[in-house]
Each structure stands twice: as C-alpha cells, then as structure tokens.
C-alpha cells in the first residue's frame, strides 16, 4: 500500500518535470508512467509495455529497453522508482542522470525471459538503425534479418541510402531482401533479385533464412531459392571439412599440453608418474587463486590474470615436482612398479587434499575478454579460447625443445638419461639434474593446468580425465621423443574429430583406443622410436 502511494506520488512528480512533460505530449503515450509500470508488471504485461514504448519511436526509450534486455533495469521496492544500475552507478532510465535513492533503497531486478529479449532486440533494431555508431547499426540490421516486417521497408531504404560502411550496408540490403522475400505484396522480379542479396549479406544465417522462406515463396521463385541453398550447402561442406581439421588441431593441442610434461618425466626420465594429472589440476587451482587475489585487490588486471598465473603456476607445480622427486621418487629409481604405486597413491592424496581445502564443487575462473567469443575466418568459426590454447601449446612445445637442445641444463638432462654413470664421472650432479628434470616436467603440467581452466572444470578430478590420454599420446608418439609427442597428439586429435561426426563421440573414442592398440602391436615403440644403445638399458 505504502509503495503504491509512493509510486503514485513519484509518478505525479515525474509528470511535473518539464522535459519529460514535452516528451509525453509528443508521443501521446505517457512514457514515464509506462516505465514506472515496468517495475511491477508480470511477464505478459511487460510484453505489452515494451510494444507500447517501442511504438513511440522516441529515442529516449532506447536506454530503458537496452537496460531491460541486459538485465540492468531495477525496481526500488522502497520508493517504487525504476532505475538503471550498472556497477555502482544508479541512473534514471529516461534522463540518464544519477539518482540518489537513499540508504533504505531495496533494488530488485526487473526480469525478462527469452521471448521478451527477442521482442526488445527487434524493437531496438528499428530505433538504432540510424545510430552514429557503425557496430550499433550493424547489430540493428542483424536484428531486422531475424524479424522481417514489411512496415520497416521505408526505414531500411532510408538507412541503406545513408549508410557509408560497405559491410553494414550489405547486411542492411540483405535485411531488406528478406523483408521483400517474405512479404506478400512484392513482385516476382523483386523477390528473384532479393535472393542473391541474402546470399551475399546474411552470412551464416543465409541458409536458415532461405530455407525458412522456401515454403511460403511463390512457385516461380522456388527454383532460384533452391539453387542458392544448394550452392551455399556445397560451400558449407568444404568448409565443414576444414572446420573438422581445426577442431582436431585444437583438441590435439590440448592433448599436447597435457602430455608434454609427461613426455619429460615418463619419456625422458622413464618414471611412470601417475600424479602427473594432479600437477595439471594444481596448476588450474593456482590460476584460480591468482585470479581470486587479483579480483579482490587489483580488479583492473583481471584481463591479464591468466598471463600472471602462468609463471606462478609453473613455479608452484615445479617446486612441488622437485619435492616429490626428492621425497619419494629418488628412492624408487629402477623400480617402475613401486614408482607407479607410490605416485598413484600420491595422486589420491593430492586430490583429497584439494577436495578438503577447496571443497568438491567446481571453482570459477573467469575467461578474460580476449578469450571469449569467436570469429569468422572465411567460413571457419574459430573460438578465441581454443585459438589461444593452440598458440600457447605451440609456444610451450618449442620452448621446451629449446631448453632440451640448446641449454646446459638440457644437455645435462640428456647426458644423465643416456648414461648416468658416465655423466656422473664427468662431474654432473646427477641428483640435482634429476630433480630439475622432474620439476620441469611438473611445471609444464602446471602450465597446461592454466590453459585447461578455459575449457574444463576446475575440480579435484580435473587431472584424472587427462592422465590416460597423456600416457596414450606419449606411448603412441614414441617414448623419449618430443616430436613424437607433438605428432602423436595432433594425429589423435584430428583422427578423433574426423571419426566423431560418423561414429558419435562414444564410439569414436572407442575406435581410437582400438586403433592405438593395433598400432602398438605393430610398432611397440610408437611413431618415432628412439634408436641406438640408450634404449636397450
């Protein structure tokens, strides 16, 4: 009751404000009253109000509708005022001025559903088509693509004439063409001319639009639409194959990242390290902690939190790796069975420790803006997170290659692996090299963990999902050979992605395992077998 009185009072007050008075008279719709009514409307009533507001064509309602669609429009339960809240700033939806609601404000979001969001974006398209910002115009034109309405034709014509950016104009023309194709009054010639415009301007939606229009089109136009669709579908098939290759490469790069640390500890040192997956998991949790600290103390750096997490994760997991080597593994050299059991037990301990500290639920790592979304590279859809992971995997791989082949530590590592006693006789501190090598392998697993936060769950089980795949890649590629790991990971990734569309994800995975078993039967040492005396030991 009190809120209603307050609301009424506010309404009267707002009507008295001169600027809004003018607007309200202009449109013959009481805009402030409608906006206030948004506050306590049901979903159905919201729909009516949105239509009413949109019908005014008044630019003042654009921020209101935008905020409503984005979920930034709030009702103050105490005063009944409707306001926009972005971050800590509270503004009036119509005037854009800051509002001070006082200490007892109780904001609750005005919620919309999918249907209303569609209505809002369609309504906004009409009002923002002439905006000064090209990207706003572009999204407005895209909005028209999905909701063609013959009433908008004059508006579109006007916008096309005024448009200066070629790519925006082509989308607008496509939107106009869609409107013509679906309207009942347009002539056959106009409709025929509309088809190629849709093909060139509507991008990936062209097939959707044309297929949708096919059923209602007049018979004379149908063959043209048909041939346009089949042309587009042919193109899609070609790009589809390339897309599969990309998916495979990106899966392969994830496998490579997970396996490459193992290629050092298992491949070079010959240690069956079942706790390798947990190093990956610890790397992911380090990222989570780093981001938590950054979010609380330096929110401006949030976009770079992953870059900051990289060295931290490397050092943390590397140090843990050195600790494991010094504390457990060095007592077990030459006893693969015991090493396996000890590291496997260690992996359980690490998992349960993390579960006890952080809880069993997933932790959240926010994706930086430069790793969200996707881009169209000709016909390929490339998601940014996968793209950066591919790049990152390549960088890590070549850095590691560099370390092994071009640094004193790498030389000592290879010397110790090939002939421990001779290396020792030459003055190399073999226990130190062992610890460093294991630390390096673990540190790289930690780096993989940072990358995996972008595509997988951060839970105590994270590592378990990758340990089998990692061993598979290393054994398939050839133990002790980094290039083998590289080629092995990419081969498995691409093969998996090519099998998946035909066999399905479940059968695809089984088929890959069967193929690897057969391959290992033929070539027990993997793709790139090490030759020479070292392997005989």
């Amino acid at each position: 009751m009190l809120t209603q009185i307050l609301r009424l009072a506010l309404l009267t007050l707002s009507l008295l404000l001169p600027t809004q008075m003018v607007r309200a008279q202009d449109a013959a719709v009481d805009i402030p009253a409608q906006v206030t009514a948004l506050g306590e409307a049901s979903l159905r009533e919201l729909g009516t109000i949105i239509t009413t507001l949109a019908s005014t064509g008044d630019p003042a309602v654009v921020p209101v509708l935008t905020a409503l669609g984005e979920g930034n429009l709030y009702l103050d339960e105490t005063s009944g005022a409707v306001v926009i809240q972005r971050g800590s700033a509270i503004t009036d939806p119509l005037t854009g001025e800051a509002v001070d609601l006082g200490a007892d404000a109780d904001l609750s979001r005005i919620r919309v559903n999918n249907g209303l969001r569609r209505d809002i974006s369609a309504a906004l398209s009409g009002m923002t088509l002439m905006s000064d910002n090209p990207s706003t115009r572009l999204s407005a034109a895209r909005g028209f693509l999905s909701k063609p309405d013959a009433a908008n034709l004059p508006l579109l014509d006007e916008a096309i004439a005024a448009e200066t950016e070629a790519n925006v104009r082509s989308v607008m023309q496509a939107a106009r063409a869609v409107t013509i194709l679906t309207s009942e009054d347009a002539s056959i010639e106009d409709k025929l001319a509309a088809v190629p415009q849709i093909v060139s301007g509507a991008g990936r939606n062209a097939i959707t639009i044309l297929t949708g229009a096919l059923a209602s089109a007049p018979d004379e136009v149908k063959p043209t639409i048909q041939s346009a669709i089949s042309g587009l579908e042919q193109g899609r098939a070609v790009w589809g194959a390339l897309q599969n290759v990309w998916f495979g490469v990106s899966l392969g790069s994830v496998l490579l990242l997970a396996a490459i640390g193992l290629a050092i500890t298992f491949g070079v040192m010959g240690i069956i390290n079942m706790a390798h997956g947990e190093m990956v998991m610890l790397g992911a949790y380090t990222t989570f902690l780093v981001q938590l600290v950054i979010r609380q103390n330096f929110p401006g750096l949030l976009d770079y939190s992953l870059l900051i997490a990289l060295p931290v994760a490397f050092l943390v997991t590397g140090a843990i790796g050195v600790g494991i080597e010094r504390g457990i593994i060095r007592w077990l050299y030459g006893r693969p069975l015991e090493t396996l059991l000890a590291t496997w037990g260690l992996s359980l301990i690490l998992q349960q420790t993390v579960r006890s500290i952080f809880g069993p639920t997933n932790q959240m790592v926010i994706a930086p803006t430069w790793m969200s979304g996707s881009t169209d590279f000709f016909g390929l859809a490339i998601t940014y997170n996968r793209f950066w992971i591919v790049i990152f995997a390549l960088i890590v791989f070549f850095m590691l290659l560099l370390i092994l082949n071009r640094t004193p530590l790498g030389l000592q590592m290879r010397a110790v692996t090939q002939n421990r006693r001779m290396a020792s006789a030459m003055g190399i501190r073999t226990p130190f090299v062992d610890a460093m090598t294991f630390g390096l392998g673990s540190g790289i697993a930690g780096l993989a963990g940072v990358a995996l936060t972008q595509i997988d769950n951060i839970s105590p089980n994270l590592g378990q999902n990758y340990i089998i795949d990692s061993f598979m890649v290393v054994v398939f590629g050839g133990v002790g050979n980094l290039w083998g790991t590289f080629v092995g990971a990419l081969t498995l990734g691409v093969a998996n992605k090519f099998l998946e569309p035909y066999a399905g994800a479940v059968l695809g995975k089984i088929l890959i395992l069967v193929l690897i078993i057969l391959f290992i039967q033929r070539r027990p040492r993997g793709l790139f077998a090490l030759k020479g005396r070292a392997i005989e030991q």
Partner: protein, 434 residues
C-alpha cells in the same frame, strides 16, 4: 622400460583403489536409530553427492534438536561409495547387516540405484532416492523422491512447444551415454513423434561421461538449428561435462534467444563453479529452485547456510528431495510407532509433508511423490528465474504412458494389488519390477 610389469602394476593399483574404508562413526549407543547415508564422497560424482551427504547430516541434526524420533536420537552412518557401483552394493549390504541401519538415504546415478536395489529387496530395508530419474521402475523397498519423466522432461517439452516457450519445432536430444538419458530420450522421442514432430526434426546425440571437447557437437547443433525452424536442445548431460558444454555454446555464440537449451541435470550447485553471464536465458526444469520466494524456503536456506558455515553455499532440487523424503520417513515411523521396514512401507503411503515451494508432497501408492514443475531461466548470478510452473502438483508416474511397452503398467504398493508393475489390461502382476 618393461611394459608388461607396468601393466600388471596398473591392474594392482586399480584393484587397490576399489576397496576403500567406510567412515562410520565409532560410537554405537544403545538407544539410537541409525540412518545410513550412501553417497559418493570421492570420484566423479563427489561434486554432486558430497552436498547431499551434508544435507542428510543437517536434517538429522535438526531432527535431533527437536528430540529425535520415537524418543530416540538419530545416528548417521556415512559411507563413501567412491563413484563405484559394485562397491555401492557392498556398502549397502554392510550398512544394513553390519551397522544395522533402519533406513538408507542415498545414490545419485541410476546405475547406483540399480546396483543396490537387489540388496534392499533381499534384506528388506528402505532406500530413499533423491534424484530425478528415468522412471520405468517401482520397487517395494525404494521411495523415489526425485522427479519421474512426467514431472520434469514432459512438462519442459510442453513449455518449449507453447507460444511462451518459443513454439519450438525442431529438437536436439543431447545426453550422457547411460541409462537415465537413454530412457528419458526414448520417452521424449516417442512423445514428440506422437505430437506430430517429423523424425528428421529430432537429432539424438550421446557423449561419454566427463566429455570435455564439445566443438563438433555444438557446431552440429548450430547447423541443425539453421534450417529455418525454431530449434531447442533438451539436455540430459550429466555431471562435469556440463561446464565445457555451456562454455562452448557461449563461445560459439549460441544465444538462448536463438537456440535455448533446457537441462534436467543442471542446478544451482553445478552452476556455482561457473561464470553464467553467457548463459543467461538457457533453461532448466526442476521441482525446486533456490530462488523461489516462500517463507519455508527462506528458512531452509538460512538454516542450511548456518549449518554448513558459509553464506554462499547454494541449495538445489535433490536437497529438497532428501528433505521431503526424510520428513516423510519421520512421519511414517511416528505413525507406525516402529522403524521396521514393513511397518514403515505400510504407513508411509498417503502421508503428506510441505515442500519448499509452497505446496505439499504426498507419498503415492507407487512410492513416488507429488511435485510442482518449475521452468527457470539461468541468471547471471547463477540462480534461476522461474518463467513457468504447473498450476497443480503433478503426481509422479512410475511407468511412462508414452512408451507402448509400459503404458498399461501401474505400480501400487497397497493392498490388494501390492505390485510394482501391475498390468491393467491383463490384471496381473509382472513379478520382479525393475
């Protein structure tokens, strides 16, 4: 490197892992009623089930504060089934025979329930199962407090077909490859075909547990949705695989306005590890949401957060199911004056207890309960906004009316039928009802 040695070591390691020790409290006092809690506290399902174990401890503590049951305190006996189903059957047997519990609350996956069922039947004990499941089952010793398909999947599809839900005409049924998604999708497929959806407008896809590379499938969904008909995804993807799935959806730019995803296994708990901004508008169908604004729910959330010592912990649907199951069991024990399985089974049917969304849950003769059905849209704070709900409570149906092989079956555990799969056409009981 000796690979055969390594292999046998692996095998030994795997064997060692399957035997883990139960964490039963050592104190065994004379005058307590023991309540078994049979959930995974490690392994893949730990993410969901650990919370349910805590929920049971919370409910038991609350009941003890009220004076217990029949004047006796309740004593929880917790075991860890470690996401290992044969182990679950073993531990269920141990709970009943060795620890002598009177009732067990537990399991999440259907495969867990299926593997412990014979134990409860043989030893005549009680199991309360709190998770939505595929139906096609009714067992005398089991009480299904989660949703059956007609309390979750069918209403969700109805909503999407309605004008409010976007008049969807084309359907992707995506699920994890095991019994719950398979059976649910079988029922849904038949239901959609009956509703006049063409077979080519239905795409069914299965993925392994913990699937993390969704690129191909999401891009397939995108292509499938670009045929000019409104498309929706019905997701029975379970557990950890959901996070990468939604992430890929967001990255490939599939918005809820274009292709909404309605999930049956994604709740507040699953979304808590997750930035939900790209997911706003995707849907979930449940019988309870944390965001439902009722005094009962507010009190439950406050008590729970106080018990667990964190004001950010969420509540979810299976937790409510455990609460309902627990309250019904308490009422049944008090009505029967005994914790004997047979007495409880006889007294529990027809009992009612308030649920958290403002209605009442009633135990039906088929050992399912009545529930409201809510459809919620994901919000950017990881909560759900209820966009649709059924007007009345929906009674749980053990045997689906949409599958030809089960539409004539009914379950009724009261006299005179007393049968889990009574055939209404031949008027006979089909015997073992699983």
């Amino acid at each position: 490197m000796n690979f055969s040695r390594a292999k046998s070591a692996l095998l030994a390691a795997a064997l060692a892992g399957s035997v883990s020790l139960p964490m039963a409290p050592a104190m065994a006092q004379e005058d307590t009623i023991k309540v078994g809690i049979l959930h995974s506290l490690s392994g893949t399902m730990a993410i969901s089930e650990t919370t349910l174990k805590d929920t049971m401890l919370f409910l038991i503590e609350q009941q003890n504060a009220k004076g217990g049951v029949l004047g006796k305190k309740l004593e929880p006996v917790v075991v860890d089934i470690a996401s290992d189903w044969p182990l679950a059957a073993e531990l269920a047997r141990q709970l009943i025979e060795v620890d002598d519990v009177d009732v067990v609350f537990g399991c999440w996956t259907s495969v867990c329930r299926k593997s412990v069922l014979p134990v409860f039947e043989e030893l005549n004990s009680l199991l309360f199962y709190p998770v939505q499941y595929e139906g096609e089952e009714s067992q005398r010793n089991v009480f299904y407090t989660g949703a059956s398909p007609n309390q979750q999947a069918i209403p969700a599809v109805d909503y999407l077909m309605s004008e409010d839900g976007g008049s969807v005409e084309r359907w992707v049924l995506a699920g994890t490859d095991y019994v719950y998604p398979q059976t649910t999708n079988k029922i849904l497929e038949q239901y959609l075909l009956d509703k006049g959806v063409a077979p080519e407008d239905i795409m069914i896809n299965y993925t392994p547990f913990g699937h993390s590379d969704w690129q191909t499938i999401v891009s397939d969904i995108k292509t499938f949705g670009s045929e000019g008909k409104k498309t929706a995804v019905v997701s029975t993807i379970n557990g950890d695989a959901n996070v990468p799935f939604y992430r890929e959806l967001g990255n490939q730019g599939i918005k809820a306005e274009d292709i909404p995803v309605v999930a049956f296994s994604v709740g507040e708990e699953e979304l808590s590890g997750f930035d939900t901004t790209p997911l706003v508008g995707h849907l979930a169908a449940w019988n309870y949401f944390m965001s439902v604004d009722t005094p009962e729910n507010e009190a439950f959330i406050a008590d729970w957060q106080k018990f667990i010592g964190s004001d950010t912990r969420v509540t979810n649907d299976p937790m409510e199911a455990h609460m309902i199951g627990f309250n019904l069991w308490v009422k049944a024990v008090e009505a029967a004056g005994s914790t004997e399985a047979d007495a409880v089974i006889d007294s529990i049917v027809g009992l009612e207890t308030p649920n958290l969304t403002g209605g009442t849950a009633k135990m039906l003769p088929n050992h399912h309960i009545t529930k409201p059905v809510l459809i919620g849209e994901i919000q950017d704070d990881g909560q759900f906004f209820v966009v649709w709900e059924t007007e009345d409570l929906v009674p749980g149906d053990a045997w689906s009316d949409y599958l030809p092989e089960s539409k004539m079956l009914e379950a009724d555990w009261t006299a005179p039928i007393n049968c889990g799969n009574y055939n209404t056409e031949t008027k006979t009981c089909g015997g073992s009802a699983q």
